[in-house]
């Protein structure tokens, strides 16, 4: 590191420098001093390249978000029957059709193979990890594992049947998958986890996952009832049910004459950190984008 030393001639009785002269001399000395080697002018900093976007399998979703970003954490949340599982499986199916190896970490063991087949999923390229409560891992935990235990704040048994053990298994498995690398998409299905329990996943876990996928071609997709990853998610989409379609014209029709055609979903883009805003623009809250499909 260079140091700047400026030595001004002491004022003498015969040639006293005025303040402007002193300032000019100081400016000349500073200009002559060598610059620090590692400091780059801000104008020369290269912008981080935007992540590659791939199709999510739902055209309306692609129109809303531009697709799913590689090397980033994407979060999709919504209440029950909001269409979130359909979006998740569509993304997995699209990735398997692209010949990519995918992994689905199923915290509640809720994946329906028939639904996946209906979406054209290639099961040979899907690693399905079915977490279970009180599995063999829970028995074999050693004291050392406790210290490294994921989600140390997670405890209790949710009334919907998903225990803290499931969630801890899911976090450990996700960490292994991301460290292993090579997967095109890793999806974590927290749709069956109670909101309270999902919120107890420490932010450090999400940060760790986000750092693990950064710079890789892996898409990390998280599905939940409520937003969990907070600032670690580069893309956050909220889904809610609008109306479910049916042949119901009037409730007078008997049940055997009715057919459930599907859910109608409304998606709202809450956050997208994928586009770098141009310098000099001060932006307020941009209007959230909405799309409906189903």
């Amino acid at each position: 590191m260079s140091s700047l030393s400026v030595r001004l001639q002491p004022a003498t009785a015969s040639a006293a420098l005025t303040f402007p002269e002193k300032a000019a001399a100081l400016a000349r000395h500073i200009a002559a001093a060598p610059r620090l080697a590692q400091v780059t002018a801000a104008s020369r900093l290269e912008a981080r390249p935007a992540p590659e976007m791939v199709a999510s399998g739902v055209s309306e979703m692609d129109a809303l978000t531009g697709g799913l970003p590689r090397g980033c954490l994407t979060e999709i949340f919504g209440p029950a029957s909001s269409g979130r599982t359909g979006v998740l499986l569509a993304a997995v199916a699209a990735a398997t059709r692209r010949q990519e190896a995918c992994a689905l970490v199923d915290v509640s063991d809720a994946f329906d193979p028939r639904s996946g087949a209906a979406m054209g999923m290639d099961f040979a390229r899907l690693l399905w990890v079915r977490c279970q409560a009180g599995g063999s891992w829970a028995k074999r935990k050693s004291p050392g594992d406790e210290a490294r235990s994921w989600g140390a704040g997670i405890s209790g048994f949710a009334r919907n049947g998903t225990s803290a053990g499931n969630l801890e298994q899911a976090l450990r498995v996700t960490d292994l998958l991301l460290q292993s690398g090579g997967f095109g998409l890793v999806a974590i299905d927290l749709g069956g986890v109670a909101e309270k329990m999902a919120r107890r996943v420490p932010l450090t876990s999400w940060f760790r996952f986000q750092r693990a996928v950064e710079g890789t071609p892996t898409i990390l997709l998280v599905l939940s009832r409520t937003p969990c990853a907070q600032s670690c998610a580069a893309l956050v989409v909220k889904l809610k049910p609008s109306a479910f379609s049916s042949q119901l014209s009037a409730r007078l029709q008997p049940a055997h004459a009715q057919v459930f055609k599907g859910l109608r979903t409304e998606g709202e883009l809450l956050r997208s950190r994928l586009e770098r805003k141009p310098a000099g623009k001060v932006c307020g809250a941009e209007p959230a984008l909405r799309r409906s499909w189903g």
């Binding site: 739902v58 309306e60 209440p79 029950a80 029957s81 909001s82 269409g83 599982t85 359909g86 998740l88 499986l89 569509a90 699209a94 692209r98 010949q99 990519e100 190896a101 509640s108 063991d109 994946f111 028939r114 639904s115 209906a118 979406m119 099961f123 040979a124 390229r125 690693l127 399905w128 990890v129 079915r130 977490c131 279970q132 599995g135 063999s136 028995k139 009334r159 919907n160 298994q169 450990r172 498995v173 292994l176 292993s180 690398g181 090579g182 997967f183 095109g184 749709g191 049910p241 479910f244 049916s246 119901l248 008997p254 049940a255 055997h256 009715q258 459930f260 599907g262 859910l263 979903t265």
Partner: protein
């Protein structure tokens, strides 16, 4: 001159034992053979010989000796050492003759252009054998039998120049002519006769007149004289050993913990992988067989946290990999994870490890292929995941040809090599179903044959009036084995955040109502 080389391992049974347990090299060791209680000393090393231990002593006689390590003779370890010896020889010549467990002969014709002059080749062979864990005598001569005699008689590396066999072999004792594997009563009589004549070394035998020797000892005597002169020329009978890559180890004390077992497995895996690499092969299947201590039951549940299994005489595990791999560290890690998930259940007395050789994988990556996990990393990751969630709960699934709603099975995840990427056309959005495993029992109130109200003690969100229902759709099957029959309904319930749509199922055989899944 077509040189031949002989590799001879003195005290082979003892060396095979020490090869598996290197810590015994610096100790006096005696190898026992026979059935208890009539075991006798079979072989001793120099340190034990200095203590006064000799062959044919009984176990009772040698047991009181302090500091003497007693081991049972192990045929498996000798076979593994012999395989390693053959592998070392075949690294220098394609024509190798198997001359017994402790010696091999090599034809070095033309090898000088590859490996250098004969003394250099002999030194390289000696170093190679030492790396395999054996201390051998290496001798090179013009004829194979002269090389064999020199290897048995001279320690270290010996090279006999052309035409000097008789002179160099002359100092060797005449007993060396009869030290091969083919010893019978007739050869013992010949030896006895030569001793009575005062023939002590090969020089004296070579100096006997031919005619008189043949008149008294016949053709056999003439043959022995030619051997003593190093004048017997013959072709080697090359051996084509089976490509068997096995290692075996018998333990002095039964092993209880997995960590020391991992240390031993690492040694064995490195030996197997190095031999595979010498043949430009890899392996896709590893078989581990542990012989357990009989009549012993160990609570592995308390120690390793695994499932408590009843003790078996033999404990076998087979690791099958989707692609050929040649990495000892990967194999060791996979074996460790497998043994943690499936502990033996009793102390381990012997270890057998074998690998099935296959051609190595020839894969060429493409620049534009989609990302795929590395096979070795993927195997380790899958093994770790199986240790967390269970073996049958991680893998890819296969739909079965049945109408049963849960008709699928789990199988090993092997994505295969990705093909060139192709963009498939987008498909219409399909509403997915989230399955509840196990299904949630509910109480249903019917109105005009349709569900009107649901009550569920377990889940608050599944209580309320049914806003809309569609169905039923009846399905059944497997009447010939395990029959099932059900009616399915799609119902809409008012939830806290809107309307939730469920699949309601009635088991017609059990008469129970349950919510099978949620449309999402």
């Amino acid at each position: 001159m077509a040189p031949f080389c002989c590799i001879f391992v003195p005290g082979f049974p003892l060396q095979a034992l020490v090869r598996a347990q290197p810590e015994l090299r610096s100790q006096p060791v005696a190898v026992l053979e026979g059935r208890p209680p009539l075991q006798k000393v079979f072989a001793v090393n120099e340190a034990a010989r200095q203590m006064g231990i000799s062959a044919a002593m009984t176990k009772l006689q040698v047991e009181p000796c302090a500091g003497l390590a007693l081991r049972e003779r192990s045929v498996e370890q000798e076979a593994a050492a012999h395989a390693a010896l053959l592998a070392c020889a075949q690294a220098f010549s394609p024509c190798v003759e198997d001359s017994g467990w402790d010696a091999v002969l090599l034809d070095l014709a033309g090898m000088e252009k590859l490996f250098g002059p004969l003394p250099q080749i002999a030194g390289a062979i000696a170093r190679r054998v030492a790396e395999a864990g054996l201390e051998a005598n290496v001798a090179a001569a013009e004829t194979p039998d002269a090389a064999m005699l020199a290897a048995r008689g001279f320690a270290g590396v010996e090279v006999i120049p052309e035409g000097q066999q008789a002179e160099r072999l002359g100092s060797l004792p005449v007993e060396l002519l009869f030290s091969g594997p083919q010893t019978c009563e007739q050869t013992e009589q010949l030896l006895e006769t030569l001793r009575r004549w005062g023939i002590r070394d090969l020089r004296a035998l070579a100096a006997l007149p031919k005619v008189e020797l043949s008149e008294r000892l016949g053709q056999e005597g003439l043959h022995l004289q030619k051997l003593a002169r190093g004048a017997v020329s013959r072709d080697l009978v090359p051996v084509e050993p089976r490509l068997v890559f096995e290692e075996a180890m018998e333990l002095e004390h039964p092993l209880v913990l997995l960590e020391p077992l991992a240390f031993l497995l690492n040694q064995m895996l490195e030996q197997i992988c190095s031999r595979l690499a010498e043949h430009a092969l890899a392996t896709q299947e590893l078989r581990l067989r542990l012989e357990l201590q009989a009549g012993y039951s160990w609570d592995w549940e308390a120690d390793a946290g695994g499932r408590g299994l009843p003790p078996q005489a033999n404990f076998e595990r087979t690791l099958r990999l989707p692609v050929p791999v040649l990495d000892a560290k990967v194999f060791l890690k996979l074996l460790q994870l497998d043994l943690k998930a499936h502990p033996p259940g009793a102390p381990i007395a012997k270890i057998h490890l074998s690998a099935e050789p296959v051609r190595p994988r020839a894969a060429q990556g493409g620049l534009f292929l989609p990302p795929s996990p590395e096979p070795e990393k993927l195997e380790l990751t899958l093994a770790r995941i199986a240790g967390i969630v269970g073996e049958e709960r991680a893998g890819s699934l296969q739909l079965l040809d049945t109408h049963h709603p849960q008709g699928f099975c789990m199988q090993r995840f092997a994505p295969g090599e990705p093909q060139a990427q192709c963009d498939s056309p987008p498909r219409d959005f399909v509403t997915a179903l989230r399955i509840f495993r196990p299904p949630v029992r509910v109480a249903v109130t019917l109105r005009e044959g349709s569900p009107a109200r649901l009550d569920c003690p377990q889940r608050e969100e599944m209580r309320g009036t049914v806003l809309w229902a569609a169905g039923p759709w009846r399905s059944s099957g497997d009447w010939w084995s395990r029959p099932w029959a059900r009616d399915e309904w799609d119902i809409a319930l008012q939830a806290q955040c809107g309307i939730a749509v469920y699949r309601l199922v009635r088991d017609l055989l059990a008469g129970k109502w349950m919510v099978e899944g949620e449309y999402d």
